[in-house]
């Protein structure tokens, strides 16, 4: 009797999930234009708002050694306007822009000489650049492109660059859809990457803020560089300081031309729209863009790791720990199993890391993520831990390995699976409650997995996972020789000098 009831419960849970996944499948409308542009739409009439997103399958992984950082730099530059926006007279402006490029190139080349650089020449070029930038101000309307969006009530107007892709996001009142189509198509067809060197300085500040002054950022950069020796996944998205220093408008335009093709992008519009009108509107503004040959994928394959790699970063901060294991990316079945493992380890207060590491007082946090830093290529199962003093990163590392070992030898209980599957199905429903969240998710799966329906198949695969799969996968990937370990160590010698007043710690 008991068993029958149990089965019935399982069946109901599964049915519920299918219904929510089906709900999603029914609501997504697809349209592919002759130029290869893919448009996905979900009509949601909860409020008169829309979330139109565009994703380009162009991330830092698509850069080369002399353009490292350009995907991110270009993302910044695409907010600088077009031939009609951000300028008072583009024909006059472009003459000055060309001059700025010429001087900027010369300046970069001279500075790159380092200690052998000619200081006088640098000063001279800096002055010349400044003079041209002053001249350009006569024609440039700083910030006009963003102003238009802001004035029309945008929220979440932004963009993001990852190793795999670049995404442009905004939410607008629903009557501004055509404005969006006009502005976005204008920047794709007529972008002018003006004010390049000033923005490059802002990007340098971004790097200082995210990496140089952040213990976690600094550790991650070194960790990921150690984990990947051949594949570009090991390189920082923002670029190394010396990479950023050599970026210029020519490189950005070239990257733009090669990668920002309609057939290399996904457009998602979620919200209060009329489907047919939207298809026609997008045709009107984006239909004349030409499909072009797609850039080649990265062919370098990270060679299998032949031994544990350990790195340390010294910083004026308390210790932190990062661990990564190489593993295959989607749609390999083991990737689904590792998603399940990640949920078992660190989703919620019933998770193993929380119960056995955080509640034990060994760490203030311990988390896992499957699929770092990207999903287009084989990636890492990534674990982070923050020890609680007097416990050290060694204690946390040991506690993490204890949990990974258990996965290899002890079958996961039915109860844990059921809880995670129920969470997955609930998330399907919850995700539908946000236009922006849905737009992000659909764009990602269509762009990176090649089909937004991946998310439906993902759910089915999660249901197929058995306790034996977990043990097999844990044994396959969680080995010493397959891991990279990074620790942040407190730098003790960083002490202030001089007379000090009483302070607040």
């Amino acid at each position: 009797m008991k068993k029958i009831r149990y089965l019935l419960i399982l069946f109901l849970v599964a049915l519920h999930g299918i219904a929510s996944a089906q709900n999603l499948a029914d609501r997504v409308v697809e349209h592919t234009y002759p130029n290869g542009l893919k448009l996905l739409m979900i009509k949601r009439d909860t409020s008169p708002t829309i979330a139109p997103y565009i994703l380009f399958k162009a991330g830092s992984v698509d850069e080369s050694d002399d353009t490292r950082g350009i995907a991110h730099m270009l993302e910044h530059m695409l907010f600088k306007g077009t031939k009609t926006i951000g300028t008072k007279d583009y024909d006059k402006e472009k003459v000055v822009l060309a001059e700025i490029d010429r001087i900027g190139d010369a300046l970069d080349m001279e500075r790159a000489k380092g200690s052998r650089a000619d200081a006088d020449k640098i000063a001279e070029l800096e002055a010349a650049l400044k003079a041209q930038q002053e001249l350009a101000k006569e024609w440039i309307v700083t910030g006009e492109y963003t102003e238009i969006y802001t004035q029309h009530g945008s929220t979440g107007f932004n963009a993001g660059t990852s190793v795999d892709y670049t995404i442009y996001t905004v939410e607008l009142p629903s009557n501004k859809l055509e404005l969006w189509a006009m502005l976005e198509s204008d920047r794709l067809k007529n972008a002018v990457l003006r004010e390049f060197y000033v923005e490059r300085d802002a990007v340098k500040e971004e790097r200082r803020m995210r990496v140089d002054t952040q213990p976690g950022g600094k550790l991650y950069e070194q960790f990921i560089a150690a984990a990947f020796t051949a594949h570009p996944y090991g390189m920082p998205i923002i670029g190394w300081p010396s990479d950023i220093a050599m970026l210029n408008r020519r490189k950005a335009e070239e990257f733009f031309k090669v990668h920002y093709a309609p057939n290399n992008s996904v457009m998602v519009i979620v919200g209060n729209i009329n489907i047919d009108d939207t298809i026609a509107l997008i045709e009107k503004y984006f239909g004349d863009m030409q499909a072009q040959p797609l850039p080649s994928e990265v062919t370098t394959i990270e060679p299998s790791q032949e031994g544990e790699r350990r790195i340390e970063v010294e910083f004026d901060a308390e210790p932190q720990l990062m661990i990564g294991y190489h593993k295959p990316t989607i749609p390999h079945f083991d990737d689904y199993v590792l998603d399940m493992i990640s949920a078992i380890l660190s989703d919620g207060r019933t998770s193993r890391f929380y119960k056995n590491i955080v509640e034990e007082g060994i760490a203030v946090s311990a988390n896992s993520v499957n699929g770092y830093p990207g999903a287009r290529y084989n990636n890492l199962f990534f674990i982070t831990g923050t020890p609680r003093s007097p416990h050290t990163t060694v204690d946390v590392e040991e506690a993490i390995y204890t949990e990974l070992e258990k996965l290899k030898t002890e079958p996961v209980a039915e109860k844990e699976f059921k809880r995670i599957l129920k969470q997955i199905d609930a998330d399907f429903i919850r995700n539908l409650s946000s236009n922006a969240g849905m737009a992000q998710q659909l764009a990602f799966f269509e762009g990176i997995a090649g089909d937004w329906r991946y998310v439906l198949g993902w759910r089915e695969n999660m249901y197929k996972i058995t306790p034996e799969d977990i043990m097999r996968v844990a044994k396959t990937y969680f080995t010493k020789s397959n891991r990279t370990v990074g620790t942040l160590i407190k730098k003790e010698d960083a002490a202030p000098t001089g007379d000090k007043a009483e302070g607040y710690e």
Binding site: H16, R44, T46, S47, P48, T49, F79, T84, I85, T142, G143, E147, T150, Q151, G153, T155, F157, E171, P173, N175, L179, M182, L183, D186, Y197, D201, A202, E205, R208, M209, D212, T213, D316, G348, T350, E359, G361, V364, R388, S389, P390, V394, E398, T402, R419, K422, Q423, D425, D427, I429, S433, S434, A494, P496, K500, A501, E502, G503, Y504, E505
Partner: protein, 715 residues
């Protein structure tokens, strides 16, 4: 068409308000030719209801998705933290959830919620507390029952409080890692001083003083139905829900709440320029002064919204962003913030930037110039119009989901905003003039009275900061646990009596001569330890080489571990490798060796260590005399000597090696003779009154031949 048209949304009134702005443009740009269909949108209006116990509800039925949500507000906040227990409200809110309820153990509560993909979370802000429920609609009934249980019957279990305190202490230890956090803490401490809760930060000491009783008292004070508002949205039927709520809250009565007085702030500006050294290539700067305390009738609100957007809250298009980032490339993150909702205190206004070290002074000057510009010159009409349009056009994003709408209504009521605030918002923004903006800039921005905090390395600054005022250099120290409690004053009689009791104990344990002959001891034992996974069996061997060497080898199911201490430093050997022992642990090992009775007793009777008698107490039902003894770390040790047989039957002490103070005690019985001295064979250790380990000794060897390598680091 020579101008831009944008359509504003008038929420709830269905009237579309048309804003035509006449921005001069040299030529028409394509987007200026667009026209926009007016939007008519009547967002759902939450239904306000009151339960019989006085709890206020804001309800919106929303059947789009099978979900059910509650966002609850409790009138309380960090603002009521007492000075000696700063951090109480935050720790309370966290343990209210993690500590389980009277009838639900924490693990059971977590399991129950997560197995139905539901969540109950408790939070705390400066001026309110929160409690939320999120569940699938099918689990509404169960979710409500758990939600009410957490709200009404939190158990605040001791071990969860202890864990949370340890985490808070770790947070304090890590609070100087991040330059923004470091700058912010010092900025608000400088601004509010020591007289106001907004200038207070928890210290290890204030965290340590928080007890289960404090949490229970906090709950008893503020958590009453008449002090709680709930915004409820999702797939439910209102009348059914009301009766469910009446049921889960049955018997919970309204009560009068006495809110403590919140100290008032002396609003006199105290400008200062402050520098904190951190060896980074970028300076984090905060520049500001006191902000505003809102009152229900707050006429400047709309002009301030516009002014703040223009200055630094309007994202990419605000002046600080434009000047500092877009025109000068001096920052990635730059802007300003002026909270306009605080009702207990004036809050603050501040501008922030993170700028390369060698442009620090340039960035500060630029920010100050932008602030001055808003005071000195009226905002150009185009910029004003753009900002007003932006506020009006984006107003609809306050109404994207029913949860957001209900929460917003509840929050406005909580903060005493006028009932027609939302209906009149767009019209009131539209009315703001350039003169209004300049007037509020002059009234609320004071570039001559700034508190400036910089975190960075001044060696590389472009100019010394003293051009902005005399520079106060703030030294940051790594926080440490509070000092040991001093020994109480003792009378001559107490010290004499202590000596007598000690002499009796020495005799009972085997006599001075025999005890003094003990140079080392090797104790083997089987222990059972309490762990969350149930009892854990440990086999251990401890080596004491007096006066100060120590080694302990442990065998557990998870593997073997050794702790080694050579008198000054030590290390731990695990399957992972060898790891040095941190200094605070080394101190606690020194104390542990000191506490070993067979060595402690003769030492106390020979040395000048001051001991004193402190009354009697029953141990295991029999009277014992208490002796107070200072340990090497300075922490006080209590020795309990049985009156009947003069054995040391218990010791108790405070342990701060884990960052927080923990009370430990060791109970010793089953004394047996080993080569003429008495050694306990049954030892129980309690931590904070809870059983931690129980050991049975299997063998004791005195003066064993020990290999020196025992205390050496393995190759």
């Amino acid at each position: 068409m020579n101008g831009r048209i944008s359509i504003g949304l008038a929420i709830t009134t269905l009237i579309v308000c048309l804003i035509v702005s006449g921005i001069p443009s040299t030529f028409a740009k394509p987007h200026e030719e667009l026209t926009f269909e007016p939007i008519t949108f009547k967002p759902p209006v939450p239904e306000k209801r009151t339960l019989s116990n006085g709890m206020t509800l804001y309800l919106i039925e929303d059947h789009e998705l099978p979900l059910f949500n509650i966002n609850g507000l409790i009138k309380t906040g960090d603002i009521y933290d007492p000075l000696d227990k700063v951090g109480l409200a935050a720790i309370f809110s966290s343990v209210m959830r993690t500590g389980g309820t009277v009838s639900r153990e924490p693990d059971a509560l977590n399991e129950e919620l997560e197995s139905m993909a539901a969540a109950v979370e408790v939070g705390m802000s400066a001026e309110y507390g929160t409690i939320n429920l999120s569940t699938l609609a099918e689990d509404t009934e169960k979710g409500l029952e758990i939600f009410a249980d957490v709200l009404r019957n939190p158990a605040f279990r001791e071990d969860k409080l202890e864990l949370r305190k340890q985490q808070a202490v770790e947070g304090i230890r890590r609070r100087n890692d991040n330059p923004i956090q470091l700058a912010w803490r010092n900025f608000s401490a400088l601004l509010y001083g020591t007289g106001h809760p907004f200038g207070w930060y928890s210290e290890i000491e204030s965290i340590e003083s928080i007890t289960v009783d404090d949490l229970k008292a906090f709950h008893a004070k503020y958590y009453h139905p008449n002090n709680i508002m709930l915004a409820i949205t999702g797939d439910f039927d209102t009348e059914t829900l009301i009766s469910q709520l009446e049921k889960v809250f049955e018997g919970w009565e309204a009560a009068e709440i006495m809110f403590p007085d919140v100290p008032t702030v002396d609003p006199t500006p105290k400008p200062s320029v402050n520098y904190i050294f951190k060896d980074l290539n970028q300076t984090t700067m905060l520049i500001g002064h006191f902000g505003i305390k809102r009152t229900p009738d707050f006429p400047d609100y709309f002009a301030l919204r516009v002014m703040n957007d223009i200055l630094g809250e309007g994202g990419f298009t605000s002046r600080l962003m434009r000047e500092v980032r877009e025109k000068h490339g001096l920052a990635y993150m730059v802007g300003s913030i002026m909270p306009t909702t605080y009702y207990t205190n004036p809050g603050e206004w501040f501008a922030y930037s993170q700028t390369r070290t060698d442009k620090t002074a340039e960035a500060i000057s630029l920010i100050i110039d932008v602030v001055k510009g808003l005071r000195d010159t009226p905002v150009p009409e185009a910029e004003l119009q753009r900002t007003k349009d932006s506020l009006i056009n984006s107003f609809v994003f306050g109404f994207e989901s029913s949860a957001q709408i209900a929460f917003q209504q509840m929050m406005l009521a909580y903060r005493d905003f006028k009932p027609d605030f939302l209906e009149t918002f767009t019209a009131n923004i539209a009315k703001v003039t350039a003169e209004d903006v300049q007037a509020v800039a002059q009234k609320y921005l004071h570039p001559d009275a700034l508190t400036i905090v910089t975190v960075g390395n001044k060696e590389n600054f472009d100019r010394p900061l003293d051009e902005f005022g005399e520079v106060n250099e703030i030294e940051i120290k790594q926080p440490e646990p509070p000092p040991a409690e001093p020994m109480p004053e003792a009378s001559e009689a107490d010290m004499v009596k202590a000596k007598e009791i000690l002499a009796a104990a020495v005799a009972a344990h085997g006599g001075l001569e025999k005890l003094q002959a003990v140079k080392n001891m090797v104790i083997e034992a089987q222990a059972s330890a309490n762990s969350p996974q149930g009892p854990m069996q440990i086999e251990g061997t401890s080596y004491y080489v007096f006066p100060d060497k120590f080694r302990q080898d442990l065998k557990m199911a998870q593997g073997e571990m050794a702790t080694v201490f050579d008198g000054s430093s030590g290390f731990v050997i695990t399957p992972m490798g060898v790891q040095p022992i941190p200094p605070q642990i080394a101190d606690s090992i020194k104390d542990a060796v000191f506490r070993e009775t067979s060595w402690l007793l003769p030492r106390l009777s020979q040395n000048d260590i001051p001991i004193q008698y402190a009354g009697t107490e029953d141990v295991a039902g029999k009277p014992a005399s208490i002796l107070l003894v200072p340990q090497p770390s300075g922490e006080m040790l209590k020795l309990f000597v049985s009156e009947e047989r003069h054995y040391v039957v218990k010791i108790s002490y405070r342990d701060t090696s884990q960052g927080v103070a923990v009370n430990r005690e060791t109970l010793m019985e089953d004394y047996r003779d080993v080569d003429g001295i008495k050694v306990p064979y049954h030892v129980v250790q309690n931590v904070e009154g809870q059983l931690f380990t129980e050991s049975r000794v299997t063998s004791v060897t005195l003066n064993a031949e020990l290999d020196d390598t025992l205390f050496q680091e393995p190759e």
